[in-house]
Amino acid sequence: MWWHLDETEEYVRRQSVRELIGKVIPLFRPHARYLFAAIGLLLLITASQLVGPLVLQHIIDVNIPANDIRGLLLAAGFYVAVATSGAAVGYLQAITLFKLGINIVTDLKSRLFNHVLHLGLDFHEQYSPGKLISRVESDTETLKDLFSDVAVNLLRNLMLFIGILTVLCIKSFSIAAFVLLLVPFLFGATFLFLTYMRKYWREWRAQWAIVTGYVTEYVQGVDIIQQFNYQDNARRRMHEVNLGKYRVEVPAMFFEYSFWSAFLYGEIIAVIIVLIIGVRGVFAGTVTLGVLVLFIEYIRQMFFPIMQLSEQLNFIQRSLVSVERIFSILETEPSVRDGKSSSEELRFEREIALENVWFAYEGEEWVLRDVSLAIKKGQKIALVGTSGGGKSTIVNLLLRFYDPQKGRVTVDGRDIRDFPIKAWRKLIGLVLQDVFLFPGNVSDNLRVFDSEVPLERVKKASAVAHANTVIERLPGQYEGELAERGVNLSVGERQLLSFARALVYDPPLLVLDEATSSVDPHTERLVQEALDRLLEGRTAVIVAHRLSTVLNADRILLVHDGVVAENGAHEELLELNGLYAKLFHLQFADFEAGKDENGGAR
């Protein structure tokens, strides 16, 4: 199947086939029973497939010359019995194998999924959700096909082929010997053919990528194309690119079909051999007419398995790429790891601090440079600054989405890296600007799928966050399904839900990235009230976008260009008349005036 485009083939580090097989085999171990059963059944099936022509031979050689209708019926009956049980066994085997495949793949899929979820955000920044989906879903499905279908059919074809040759040798070695002579040629030719085709396929994929690339480019640049009246040129180029693909594709396909066409002439040659030697044998009495028919019939059936074999080998080779990709993810270690200390030792009584923290997402491009700051228990800290200054990086470090390269984040003087990640995160309630809702019902969203959290607690948290009125209006209330990404809720309502979510575990520390999107005045009031309640009695780090938040904060940190540039209460900073004062006028003066800059145009 030459049409598959494998766009990511190059990304993965090459591993040797043996290495890959070594990784695949352990997957089978829990299901070894099925596997042995399936292979055992395979023998039976092959035997039943071989029996048809044998019965035919028997009838021609024995029953018909003897005018023995009873014997004929017996032979037919035998055929029915063998073939039916063969079919039944085949059915069982296929189902067994499918079960095997799907069980292995389901295990692998959930293992992969769980692993990916536990990998750090650096990994997730690198792989888009789309790409990850194709790893977890498509690549594992390829493996399922490999386990449950392709590999076994390959075995089956091989066994059928061997079976046919064996029976032929037994029936008449003198004829079979000549047929056997053909076999090395057939396999040799097929091997060469596959090697050639692989080159063609690669070229074909490259052409397909070029076509896709041009189409993308031209569709994106359509206004420029129209402006400069480039349409005719674009058409011509498209035609050239199309033609480039055509010129690779068509010869490749003719090559492929010519090969099979020549290959199948091998069948004709085999038949001719059988004819010349066989007919002579028939008259010499060394070969019966039935055996001749048997030969003709088997040769007719012999070539198809070889053709399939080559296709299956190909599939296996391509699915090894999937295996490679899957394991390259499974072998990726999470960049953030659990500490050794027990979670009981984790205390937050005094303060959380960043001590001389340096951080870069990549190499030496420092996003934070020697940042130190302390958050006393009970304090509310507002982070302000232009985007890209480092505010969200501080949030990322506080949550241990990343660990700093230099310096440390501490809680009551102890490095947070000493503790299990989850124990640490349990102390924090996170509210993101972009409220993310999962498919599923409301309460699952609020307790983030932890079914051990009683509904009562969810309800209580919702009430505190003013989310209860929103939820109670929904059909099904707490058990109601949310539409995709909560599109059936307004922005403000979604914010209330995310407040409730942060409250469910009653965390001592809140990390909050305030939403910038404006909501209607009524909801705005609700949000403001809920926010006040949320902050009550809690330590909070807020990436602030609201004037009121800034004014109410105990301390304001102006994060700019990777450092905490200014640090103090609102009035102090205004007096300083530095960046904060400028930013304040710029950002919040606008906000106060209620200017809406969201026009319709892009």
């Binding site: 199947m1 049409w3 035919l56 009838i59 018909i64 209708i69 004929l72 019926l73 037919a76 055929y79 039916t84 079919a87 296929a94 389901t106 999924f113 769980n114 955000l121 997730h124 879903e137 397909w208 896709t212 690339g213 041009y214 189409v215 993308t216 420029i224 402006q227 009246n229 058409r235 498209m238 035609h239 199309n242 033609l243 055509y246 594709e249 396909m253 003719f254 492929e256 079909y257 020549a262 001719i272 007419l289 001749l292 003709i296 019939e297 232009t386 989405f401 995160r425 349990k426 993101l432 993310f436 498919p439 983030v448 932890d450 700019h560 400028k582 710029l586 800059e597 026009g599 319709g600």
Partner: protein, 589 residues
């Protein structure tokens, strides 16, 4: 029917190939059927000779049979090329269809591109057309395979009936029953396949949500719980998939059953007939073979029905491209040639992207004269880009008119007008061509002019430093250039056409202050008569403009020189302070 007519439209230019394909169909059926006949003859001849008093067959018979087999083999080899020809026509059709819809897309207006994202259009032009089993495959291979299968079936049946109609009828007796059962099973199969599709979507949805919301999951320690949820879905999926595969295997066995029951009938009834002398041994074997040949076409045809549905869905997606209006059709149909641009103005122009949306531009009037430098300033979303696109003739006004040399733009040949306009969009677009071709962009422009305009755009030296200089291929497989270089190449592209009117959408950002000054000097020197309309955030740009327009909420709220506006326009002042502050913040270290 609609689909067949659509397919035929693309087949028309290649219809002579139909002759070959039909011939190959017949050839392929004929050799499939003819081959077993040889053995029938052989077996009968052998049998006859064996039962003769002196069991001997003329050597010539063997050799003539060998000859016939070799000949049939050759014909068969030819017939095996048939899929190659089909594939070739698939490729031809694929090319034509892609070219057709590509041509349609590049003429579409703004509304079309609001509806379709680039990725979607790319899929429609690639996978929908060239994928398997999508349009191109179906249009030739799909259809001809159906024809081939039917013809093989008919050939097979005719031969069986001709050899021995009683046995033929007997052997296909189970067929209607099986087909009837299959017809009923198919509905169930469709249902289960739909269930399967549903649970696969659910898996994907759950994956998508988990990966997109990974921060929240981590923050709330939901990784394991989410994994369990996912496992739950997968476990359910096992059940669904098993039910599908069980049914599928059932259907498959049914097919096998058709063949098998037929074979048994042939073996028994045929065997008895041979014993009674009403059927020859050769015919007996031929029947046995034909029955196995009947199976493949029978399996193929329903499969093709399934693929046809996928292909038709893709055809619908192509038709949608053709049928979606771009919003600019029939607007600029004038034929009058455009002379040197003396003045271009907007006369009470309003524009809205969609009926019912608030106007992006509201009653704008302005005039640009030969040699005038005009700047447009305003906040994000105030309508600056829309204004430029209206002047460029990209967007048709919803109300009012674009007036060129005192006549409405609609009366002119639009290509002519565009040739006189140099438009530099906010996002520069380069194509996978050489630097030179990216600047020349299909126009008749000498290499010297290209080099000159590269120099004007202050990018020549950098481009010459590329490994292959100005012949360096950019993009895709070529070299990537920086965002700033891209912008300047776009400027060079616009300048290379010696435009009378230069429209620059916030593109001087790629020039530093010194380069910009140099650029304006060159412009004044080399293009003294060209009118310029510039969207900019820079004070320097606004300061040197003859006229500055201040845009807010789609309206012009101020017009004048920099000095005048500074004195009179509150909006302008606050805009400048904000920009200055932003600049100060950005550079503060």
């Amino acid at each position: 029917m609609k689909y067949l007519r659509w397919i035929w439209h693309f087949w028309r230019p290649h219809r002579t190939w139909l002759v070959l394909l039909v011939f190959l169909t017949l050839l392929s059926s004929a050799v499939t059927i003819g081959y077993p006949l040889v053995f029938r003859y052989l077996i009968d001849a052998l049998n006859k000779s064996l039962s003769a008093e002196v069991p001997e067959m003329a050597g010539t018979t063997t050799w003539s049979l060998v000859g016939i087999i070799a000949a049939i083999g050759l014909a068969r080899s030819l017939a095996y090329l048939y899929p190659g020809f089909r594939a070739m026509l698939n490729a031809k059709l694929e090319m034509d269809i892609r070219q057709h819809y590509f041509s349609a897309i590049i003429e579409k207006g703004y509304r079309f591109f609001q509806k379709f994202r680039t990725g979607d259009l790319v899929t429609r032009l690639t996978d929908d057309i060239g994928g398997f089993p999508k349009i191109a495959w179906f249009s030739c291979s799909g259809i001809f395979r159906a024809i081939e299968s039917s013809s093989k079936f008919i050939f097979c049946m005719s031969f069986m009936l001709w050899m021995n109609w009683q046995l033929a009828l007997l052997s296909i007796a189970p067929l209607p029953v099986m087909l009837y059962i299959f017809y009923h099973v198919r509905t169930a199969l469709g249902q289960r396949a739909a269930d399967r599709q549903k649970i696969i979507s659910k898996t994907n949805e759950s994956l998508e949500a988990a990966f997109s919301g990974v921060r929240i999951l981590k923050a709330f320690r939901g990784e394991n719980n989410q994994s369990q949820e996912f496992r739950g879905i997968l476990d359910k999926r096992i059940g669904v998939e098993l039910s599908v595969i069980r049914l599928w295997m059932g259907v498959w066995n049914l097919y096998w059953g058709i063949e098998f029951v037929g074979q048994i009938i042939v073996v028994i009834a045929g065997g008895i007939m041979v014993i009674r002398g009403t059927l020859t041994l050769g015919e007996f074997y031929a029947f046995y073979v034909y029955l196995s040949l009947l199976l493949q076409p029978l399996m193929d045809i329903p499969h093709l029905f399934v693929t046809s549905r996928q292909a038709f869905a893709s055809i619908d997606r192509e038709i949608e491209i053709a049928e979606t209006p771009g919003g600019t059709e029939g607007v600029y149909t004038g034929t009058a040639p455009v002379g040197l641009l003396d003045s271009v103005s907007l006369d009470g122009v309003s524009f809205r992207y969609e009926e019912g949306l608030p106007a992006s531009l509201d009653n704008i009037s302005l005039t640009l004269r030969k040699g005038e430098r005009a700047a447009v300033v305003g906040a994000v979303g105030s309508g600056k880009s829309t204004l430029i696109k209206l002047v460029a003739g990209h967007l048709p006004p919803s109300q009012g008119q674009v007036v060129v040399n005192r006549k409405p733009l609609q009366s002119y040949k639009i290509d002519d007008y565009r040739n006189r306009v140099g438009y530099i969009p906010q996002e520069a677009t380069l194509f996978s061509e050489s630097v030179k071709e990216n600047v020349r962009f299909g126009r008749e422009i000498s290499d010297r002019d290209i080099e000159e305009s590269l120099e004007y755009a202050q990018v020549k030296r950098e481009m010459e430093a590329l490994p292959e200089g100005l012949n360096q291929v950019l993009g895709q497989k070529g070299l990537t250039v920086s965002g700033g270089q891209k912008q300047r190449l776009a400027i060079a592209r616009a300048l290379a056409g010696h435009p009378d009117l230069l429209l620059m959408d916030d593109c001087t950002a790629s020039l530093d202050a010194e380069n910009e000054r140099a650029f304006w000097a060159i412009l004044a020197e080399r293009f003294p008569d060209a009118a310029c309309l510039i969207v900019s955030h820079r004070l320097a740009t606004a300061r040197q403009a003859d006229t500055v327009y201040v845009l807010a909420g789609g309206r012009i709220v101020g017009k004048g020189t920099h000095a005048e506006l500074l004195a009179t326009c509150e909006e302008y002042r606050s805009f400048l302070t904000r920009e200055e502050l932003k600049a100060a913040l950005a550079t503060a270290r």
